[in-house]
Subunit: 427 residues, 2 copies
């Protein structure tokens, strides 16, 4: 098949990570290195929203040094979104608008960096383009701290959130070690609404049994109150303190999120009903049923963009995934997401890229497998450690400014003049 | 005055920090370098609690490399406490017990690393020892992330929590920048119950007006709801997003903590009463009165022990303060706390140590001065930047293990045999 040629667009979607910009750098730099194929490289402002609104900017106009700095810049420098497109089966207008914009600008390559929903968008766009005989290539680049995408060994973003959170738990665990006579229990909430990959990663901090986290609450293991209370009491007997790492998506045996049900479990010591995240619900359980003081930590969005202590392996693989998407597109491959494939090079970790159908990724979800969870359901196995440890290897470089804080780039975002002549009502 | 000579004890008190162990290393190594004066160096387990219970351990028996590793280890390696001694005026038993333990072991030097309360303890102990003609030296080493101790330019622990939090706000601010179409507002809560030093430090992240934090809520500036709502709306008009850094000790105009009053302000969108920290109360205000979605981040204890991105200046000064306490004690100085004094060496920051009376420190508190707060009450001035920037200079070294996580030490804590023959009922 002949090389298509034309303009490329790259966009970012969903929750930011420490390394989604590294993937963007991989896409952008590889495109710019091949100007005969990619006649221009545009960015879509705030993911697919920017395409719908025809808010595009010219990445070729950015200073090359700033593009390179994307490798060391957290969050989504092109802007992100959580916009859900209309259902293709019932209302094609969103997809038709996207193709209208692409046609107007002769955009022939679409690189979408995101999770399940983004892969679904890219897949459907490719299908519709085929139906109307508009030649274009749609490629996906995986991105999610949740590490729950199907078809790939792991996801760019996971290694960094794992490294940061396991370090934060190691440190906060030391805090509880020191002050246990006053603050006996700490509950450290981490992200992960449906899968326990991030919560499991905090288990890497536990080098010795006395180390935090003593108990890990995973979304995959329903929280049975009386068992949990017994686990906490046993921990207090053994260590005088208890450090709990808690996935935000921990569920009760009836399948509801603990965070939503917090108020049903207990009143706090002032008689107020608890409301908040999963950690607040766990705190209510511990304070009312174990009778000790508990504190909660919840770094929130700060954990997923903690570039100041990110995994170098993750940053490098994120870049590699972005570059691989462009390389595949140059071979006229379309409708695929780049995957990360683990090589066992004589026991030494190595990683290469592969390809998976966008539809397969869009419809899949990878939870923490049973062999990674210990027999009590509150810790991780050596098999998990072997899986996860290589992903946190190396410390990503941090560029420090004269004000002693990290230097992160902001792109100039030189606007591309609009060509469709139509406004589109984004709902 | 002749050199006293005898055993030394060092203990740590209050909330852990990234650098309180660096101060301990300064005390311990300087004592061990002077064995003719200090015949042994003991640690008190969990601060003054360990002295009361005669739970002491021999720091001279630790591997020297592990003592040195204290400089790179967060939290309180000797154990800490929040134990309040009985009031000396009404019940001398606690103080008499401490002196009983000191006499039994011939402990002549007491080095207490902590905040106001610890300085009060050390001061009173020194007074009582004088009254009963027990020759001993009591020296204080400052420690508090809150930076609110009197008589010192700044406090060991502050530079590191400032560096970590300003970095976290810079990063989380980028997250809000990227996802503002969905998550328009983020409230990032930091520690500081009575003084706004830590909240103010997040202002260092704001290099340009569009950068987070757009609004800083300080305990020194009462939160007036309608003004705050107006500030948020103005921010949204200018930047489409709003990032609020919030000190946990923010107060309402009637002097109550916002965190305690959260439930009075607003019901959340589900009709539940809000309860939680200050950030939760701020979120309730924003969601109900501005009508946008807001997220909250609260790193909790993880922020004060974030050794993985601590200030090298802070680590070094903490060590210097510990060493200076020992050097003063060797000159038979007693009843003093080491202070940090800023030198203006031709415009270049430099720092040396001084001494202040323990009583003066115990009775003082240093809030954020008016000249450090901008005219709107929601930002910091250049004078504050000039004050704070040197304190976050340099990145403290992090030793990484084969598991790609930091190596922190655990002391062996070889117990010192008890000598008093009496149990003491600690209440």
């Amino acid at each position: 098949m002949a090389i298509l040629g034309g303009k490329a667009i790259v966009a970012q979607s969903g929750g930011p990570t420490a390394v989604i910009n590294s993937s963007a750098a991989g896409v952008i730099q590889t495109c710019l290195e091949n100007p005969k194929v990619f006649t221009a490289v545009y960015g879509g402002l705030n993911g697919i929203l920017g395409v719908l609104k025809e808010e595009l900017f010219d990445l070729g106009a950015e200073a090359p040094a700033e593009i390179d700095r994307l490798r060391r810049t957290p969050s989504a420098a092109l802007g992100s979104c959580r916009h859900k497109l209309k259902d293709l089966q019932t209302d094609r207008t969103d997809y038709e608008r996207i193709l209208e914009v692409f046609k107007a600008h002769d955009i022939r390559y679409f690189f979408y960096i995101g999770g399940n929903d983004s892969m679904d968008t890219a897949a459907k766009l490719g299908q519709l383009a085929g139906q109307i005989d508009y030649d274009m290539i749609a490629m996906g680049v995986p991105k999610t701290i949740d590490n729950d995408l199907a078809c790939t060994d792991h996801c760019p973003g996971y290694g960094s959130v794992a490294k940061y959170n396991s370090t934060a738990v190691m440190e906060a665990g030391r805090d509880t070690d020191a002050l246990y006579t006053h603050d006996t229990c700490t509950i450290h909430e981490v992200m992960g609404r449906n899968a326990g990959w991030i919560a499991a990663a905090t288990g890497l901090a536990r080098r010795r049994s006395e180390d935090a986290p003593h108990i890990i609450l995973l979304p995959e293991v329903p929280l049975v109150i009386h068992k949990f209370v017994d686990d906490v009491k046993a921990c207090l007997t053994e260590f005088n303190r208890c450090f709990v790492a808690c996935g935000e998506g921990v569920k009760t045996p009836d399948g509801n999120y603990l965070a939503d049900a917090g108020g049903n479990f207990a009143k706090d010591s002032f008689g107020h009903t608890q409301l908040g995240g999963a950690a607040d619900a766990v705190r209510a359980i511990i304070e009312s049923r174990v009778g000790i003081k508990a504190r909660t930590n919840r770094a929130g969005t700060a954990q997923r963009v903690a570039m100041h202590f990110a995994s170098k392996t993750d940053v490098d693989e994120a870049y590699m995934a972005g570059a691989a998407a462009v390389q595949a597109a140059m071979k006229s491959i379309s409708g695929k997401m780049v995957t990360l494939e683990r090589l066992n090079d004589g026991g030494k970790y190595a990683c290469t890229t592969g390809l998976a159908d966008l539809e397969e990724v869009a419809n899949g979800e990878k939870k923490l497998p049973a062999e990674f969870i210990d027999s009590n359901g509150t810790g991780v196995t050596d098999a998990f450690r072997q899986y996860a440890l290589p992903l946190i290897a190396g410390e990503a470089p941090v560029e420090i400014g004269p004000d002693h804080l990290p230097i992160y780039t902001r792109l100039a975002r030189k606007p591309v003049p609009k060509k469709t002549g139509t406004e589109y009502d984004v709902r």
